[in-house]
Symmetry: C2
């Protein structure tokens, strides 16, 4: 089966794309009619680097590839639009395996209203997925970067920390991201590296410091048990673990009530104030007892 047949079968799993996509996969390029501004992000996952095939179902790998890419659009407050998928197929993955994997990806596309507008399928030594996602907004000013936090802003977090550590599947917080953007978020980022590392990215891009109250951090159910079983501190596990894909944002304090209501209305999701932006630099996670948690995270090649 050639790539066109494979991608055509996957598109059969999806509703027809909305009016923005004028021509989908099958020609030299897809044709779309964007609105005022686009947010575009690309994410790749490779077997043995970002996941291990023997530890993860194929559909789950497909879900993960698109969900992590869409999480970047959530962090911009963009409406999800189109996805373009490069699938690298190793010799031991057959057609049914490809369809199972792309079926997982298609399920996330369906759930989020993302059109699968194009792709490329190639042989490769290891299973790999590179996903480009395009999101939309009425104007560039409506998109939220990492760089707009101001001293005095309140720091908020969607959902709970540590979900990935206890095995929950990541959900791109698209509705919450749009709600936060509309409520006046000044800066936003999704937690892919862990709270400490991503807070540092936001602080550096905005030129502010961030003070986080560790006692306020919402911790997912089950984290305490996993921490106890592995001899780790639950707070460290929750704040240092990556891939939660919750949103971390800053807001003027007077916008907090509106944002909390908008986020909980959008997806029955909790929004928690966990700290504030201050003049200066750096990230401090203050423990209830008075100590400090070292902000961890990584931003090297992964």
């Amino acid at each position: 089966m050639g790539e066109f047949e494979l991608l055509a079968k996957v598109r059969e799993m999806l509703p027809p794309p909305g009016p923005r996509v004028r021509l989908g996969s099958g020609d030299d390029a897809a044709i779309a009619v964007p609105g005022g501004a686009t947010a575009t992000s690309v994410d790749a996952i490779v077997d043995g680097v970002h996941f291990r095939r023997e530890q993860m179902g194929l559909a789950e790998i497909g879900r993960k590839a698109l969900a992590t890419a869409l999480s970047d659009l959530a962090a911009m407050g963009a409406e999800p639009g189109e996805a373009y998928v490069v699938l690298g197929v190793p010799a031991d993955l057959d057609e049914d395996g490809c369809l199972e994997l792309l079926g997982g990806l298609a399920a996330v596309a369906r759930e989020t209203g993302t059109a699968l507008a194009g792709g490329d399928v190639t042989r490769a030594p290891a299973l790999s997925l590179a996903v480009t996602v395009v999101g939309h907004a009425p104007s560039p000013e409506r998109l939220v970067t990492r760089a707009g936090a101001r001293p005095g802003d309140v720091l908020v977090l969607t959902g709970e920390l540590g979900g990935a550590a206890v095995g929950l599947e990541p959900q791109p917080r698209l509705a919450a991201g749009r709600a936060l953007a509309e409520a006046g978020a000044t800066a936003m980022i999704d937690l892919s590296d862990g709270l400490g590392g991503d807070a540092r990215h936001l602080a550096e891009a905005s030129g502010v410091g961030l003070r986080i109250d560790a006692g306020a951090l919402p911790i997912a159910a089950g984290v305490a048990e996993v921490a106890a079983a592995t001899g780790r501190d639950p707070l460290e596990l929750a704040a240092g673990g990556g891939e939660d894909y919750e949103l971390l944002a800053t807001l003027p304090p007077e916008r907090l009530a509106q944002a909390t209501e908008a986020v909980s209305g959008a997806r029955d999701l909790r929004l928690t104030a966990i700290g504030e932006a201050v003049a200066g630099e750096g990230v401090e996670i203050r423990l209830p007892g008075g100590g400090m948690l070292e902000p961890t995270g990584f931003d090297q090649l992964a």
Copy 2:
């Protein structure tokens, strides 16, 4: 060196992006303000599948990755806009190697006015590049698909066939593609699989037949020598060989003069009428002596 530093170094090789890109790589997503319509295409190349690292310089691999992706935009008649690059780095490729490779890619970006607006760098078992390119047009109707050829249209080809077979680097025919679109091309495709295969794609998408006059085919200098040395027919080598990245298009006959002038004016490039579209289906390549050349090509997983 992390991926941000690597991509930042590559962006230093480029002029600042035009006004369309409002925010480049380094945030959760790039922000752009498109015009009326976008054409988006994604292409991946993998060591051992699409090239062999021991037979190709790193800069040349980088050039090839972006040039082949942009060729799809040329075939739509789109203006090149942004590129998003996923680089898969094997253990034996060091930072200097990555920069040499991305330097080749940046050179093509510079030559074509393409902005490198984002990317992802990951470890991978083999060197691989997945490139998403976004092109622009004032409206979707100004982009040329494969599907609009009508019986009676003249079939034209830019440049010469067989360049890849004699070792010439592919050039995305962006200016020629826009010139053909403006001159009223009804259908267009770039030659990645070879004349026979790609002509068949265009014929099938348009629901027409194509008759090609083999005697009219423009053959690149050197093809005869390579054919003689390898005991092959020069015409077969030129018409069956892939990766020439010339454009094959159909036009109403009354537009041929305008198109020829526009293409030669755009990039000092020859436009040759090589046949016509007819009612029916299939591709025939008629030899001057009266025989027929079997249209070859491949469209399987590559």
